[in-house]
Assembly symmetry: none
Homo-oligomer: 229 residues x 4
């Protein structure tokens, strides 16, 4: 691996050491995400994160000033940075707003909710007393953009005459509450109760929830109801 053809220039950053430098942060963030979600933020020792990423304690602090910083980066790369893509997908979506909501939540579940990243929300809640700045960062970089995106979807429905002119921010929260809830549930009750947790399937709950919300939102609820009866 370190014997790449030395054809081109004599000082190309090809060496193992060089390549690691670019890969390290991502490896550390991945290790941190897994361990934080698995054991909690405070309960995870920074040395464990380093060890799982295959480096020593000191190396971790070469890339992240503090453990809190690492946490912030995990949130940024695993949650906050997704919004740009989502907003673009929103722009090009064709179809009914009801479908949009279902597709949106389904996609979110696949990409976030049902992945380790879904555990971050609970971590932020758990550590908000100890690390208020993290909670603040999460609020501004994840919650606000998320609410804004959902609000645009609901307004699209209202503008197109698909939905009633309900209080959009409140309705957004009705959706957010379900998303937060399934993430929290998965990493609390399920993690503790184990097997009999099968009486609650997050994705099917999300779809039922959207169903309920949409029926509640519909401008002409009578016709469409049979679709999901």
């Amino acid at each position: 691996m370190s014997n790449l053809p030395s054809i081109s220039t004599d000082r190309v950053p090809t060496a193992r050491r060089e390549r690691r430098k670019e890969a390290r942060p991502g490896e550390l963030i991945q290790a941190a995400l897994d361990l934080f979600v698995e054991k909690g933020f405070s309960a995870t020792r920074s040395e464990e994160v380093a060890a799982r990423a295959g480096v020593s304690k000191g190396t971790l602090f070469l890339y992240f000033q503090t453990k809190e910083d690492l946490f912030r980066e995990v949130i940024r790369t695993r949650l906050a940075d997704h919004f740009l893509a989502w907003e673009q997908e929103f722009e090009v979506f064709q179809g009914s707003t009801e479908d949009m909501l279902r597709t949106g939540l389904h996609t979110w579940w696949d990409r976030i909710g049902n992945t380790p990243a879904g555990g971050l929300t609970k971590l932020v809640l758990s550590e908000s007393h100890h690390f208020p700045e993290i909670a603040s960062y999460y609020q501004s970089s994840v919650v606000q953009p998320g609410r804004a995106l959902l609000a645009r979807i609901l307004m699209r429905g209202i503008e197109r005459g698909e939905f009633r002119a309900v209080d959009v921010p409140q309705a957004v929260m009705s959706l957010v509450s379900a998303m937060v809830f399934v993430m929290t549930w998965r990493h609390t009750i399920v993690a503790c109760s184990g097997p009999h947790a099968t009486d609650f399937d997050p994705l099917s709950f999300l779809m039922s929830h959207v169903d309920l919300i949409v029926h509640g939102l519909q401008a002409h609820p009578s016709r469409s109801a049979p679709l999901h009866g």
Copy 2:
């Protein structure tokens, strides 16, 4: 049950000191509830709890084996013991199931959600990694009874023809998610963001949420909705 007026018990506390002895656990639990909610569980030192209750550190451990034990007792006396009363109120309720839902959530908000006890849910979530047993206990003594109570209400609505025959457990969760959400929100985002948190009023959100859910639940949605009455 042990909090009945002390008329017929076998230990009538005559002396002042005697009375303190019996009151101690309650005073400690109250102090613990307030401090845990205010500062978080791990951030609250046992000595602080003792001090607020007016006793010394050692005395706290005379009544509760560990800090975790104290936490469990707080949950039991401040949350779990409420369900008996609620179930009785449910039996005698007269009126539409929609009213019942609104009244129920409103009452819950006044008695639990908007009191320090409402902060316990977030504490349980936050500490579930450290104390899975407490999460389990909360699940069986608070969540399950709560879900059962809400399920009975929804089934009442369906039986009386007021609601569609939706998936009851899922719909219950749609309600639970909002309740959990407002409690969590109050003690996380609001606590951190401060003033501009005024864009979210928990009670009005709850009512909006019920509104949305009920519209989604209604058997004949077209007639009933004076949209924002």
Copy 3:
């Protein structure tokens, strides 16, 4: 020892535990002084201090908030608190001011310079970069009072016509410099060079220094010189 006659009241703080509480701070300060002077402040681990005082690490922090705090207390009790007594001795001194100076420095050498406390000055110098507040504290609680006391002595000499009307603050510094010097020397050069340090006796240097300050080097300094020729 713990079986003292239980005659008087039943709750006298006679017990071993009680008595220790009052003795502990002093024991810890003594242990800290010895170790700090012996090994340096930073090089002394707090656990060592505790161990030398015969207690555990935690106990140290029961009496002193931080290691820096402990340092400050060492300075206060071993240096700063002496000034009151010295000022009283100054008031009642009878005799020539030259004698006063000699007696003062001699006393200082016996009580401070030649004891472990004499090592504190060098510690303060050494740690002034890391703990500027300590240097500040030392400056205001030791240096300033010390300079003030010496200034009063010199002014007494001037007022009584024994001394020339020299620049008092500067002359004070000439004395201070020697005091600081002998303390520093003892704990630096001597500590490192070992045996051949015998070419420098601090006390006799101090006396020679006073002699020089009072009489100067000049070959024809009038009448008074013969006194100490």
Copy 4:
């Protein structure tokens, strides 16, 4: 000695890079001196020294085995090597010994005391616990030569009948103490107290000190003293 104009040495550095190679140690030493004095020895990270000298961390360790080595070299090149020149100046001095003392201290102040090199003494004191060898080295290569030089001056005064036949080594120390004192003071108290440190001017103190040493405090010291002339 090795800093003579590079005329006749056997290694004439032709290329620019070649010149850098030879200049490196000096640049690193200069950077180290400045930073050590400014921030203290242990508070200065090796990387900072390298950075200020315009090289990378690794390069520093190419020229100096350890940080302690670098410290030793700073002392050698910036202090120890001055004595040769001073001794030559001593030989050719014309004038009274009192003038010689004044001139000597004044020169020392300009060339050492008032330059970054003056901070080295305090560094040696501060780090003597950690690096006793350095203190030893300083003692033999700076203190002893310094004392010897001052002793020769005093003895000149005695031989020429200008001074009393005092104990020369002790009197030397009286001068040394002031020199050490002003260097220490500048880099400790002043660095911490800031502005109001203006009540102490090192050079004027040095001159006052020489005045006192030479003339003494006495009120009637005969003809010789044009008191503040």
